[in-house]
Symmetry: C2
Subunit: 174 residues, 2 copies
């Protein structure tokens, strides 16, 4: 059975919308998803770099994130034909461990927690495919990288791109 590793943030969970909403509210800003085309929020407001990162480091930030549309249904379907693992670079934000785990147990309860990976460098993952929004996670990955669209990766052209979970289904179950 082939194995698919799936990133968490901005692929099945949506930290970006919450991050942006909290940032706009706290700093009286009005930045939209559209303003983030090709860049990170820290690049749009470099003078607030630390403040922007601090929002993500709040222990419950990741606990109540929205689910990316159709990810549950499609992953449930994929699990019948592939081994599915969820791999998140949680080592960058150790305060997020518990929230991320609880979020996964709540929304992806059909997956076994033995298939969750909190890592840093994703080149350690042994899988046939990695669905991720960060092209840097494909460096050193031995399988095929599949880029999940996000505002800041819109200009990246080196990988197969999927714009939503229906396109993921298309790719794997066509």
């Amino acid at each position: 059975m082939e194995r698919i590793a799936i990133d968490m943030d901005d692929v099945i969970a949506d930290p970006l919308s919450k991050h942006l909403a909290l940032f706009n509210k706290r700093y009286n800003e009005n930045i939209s998803i559209k303003d983030l085309e090709g860049k990170y929020l820290t690049e749009v407001r470099p003078e607030l770099h630390q403040e922007i990162l601090d929002i993500l480091a709040e222990p419950t930030f990741f606990r109540d994130l929205d689910i990316i549309a159709d990810s549950q249904e499609v992953i449930k379907e994929l699990s019948q034909h592939y081994e599915v693992f969820i791999a998140t670079a949680a080592m960058e934000l150790p305060s997020s461990f518990t929230s991320k785990y609880e979020w996964l147990k709540e929304h992806f309860s059909f997956l076994n927690e033995r298939n969750f990976i909190f890592c840093g460098d994703k080149s350690i993952i042994k899988a046939d495919y990695l669905i991720d929004d960060s092209p840097r996670n494909f460096m050193g990955f031995e399988g095929q990288g599949i880029l999940f669209t996000n505002p800041y990766n819109l200009h990246v052209t080196d990988y197969v791109r999927v714009n939503n979970w229906q396109e993921v289904r298309e790719f794997f179950l066509k």
Copy 2:
């Protein structure tokens, strides 16, 4: 550069001594490491199965574990010749995430946290070697499994065995 993945519990950290000491104290028992030859504590006292596991689930249990002798020095040396990752099956005990992370940052501060992996099924690890005390973690692992001696694995004969960190040095740096 070849890559070595190293298990945490009973390979670089010593939960067993603390677990046994706490158990003996709380339940007025006198079980020794010697009594655990070829078996787990839960097999020696099956009537206290849940109580034994509950000790491990206490959130700070893993925070102050002793370091397995010579592991720091040898891993520091190995890092000069190999890529070293620490891979622990933390998904079995989600309450341990923070303590395990802090313990690693304290005692193995020379390793980058990008090289820490909290996982379940270790067949997801892509590495040339895995040093582990649980033979089941070698199932599906594509590299070479190296069994680190522990009382309950004393009768296992299917893998290269190392009895201590000097023997690990011997194996990798001879």
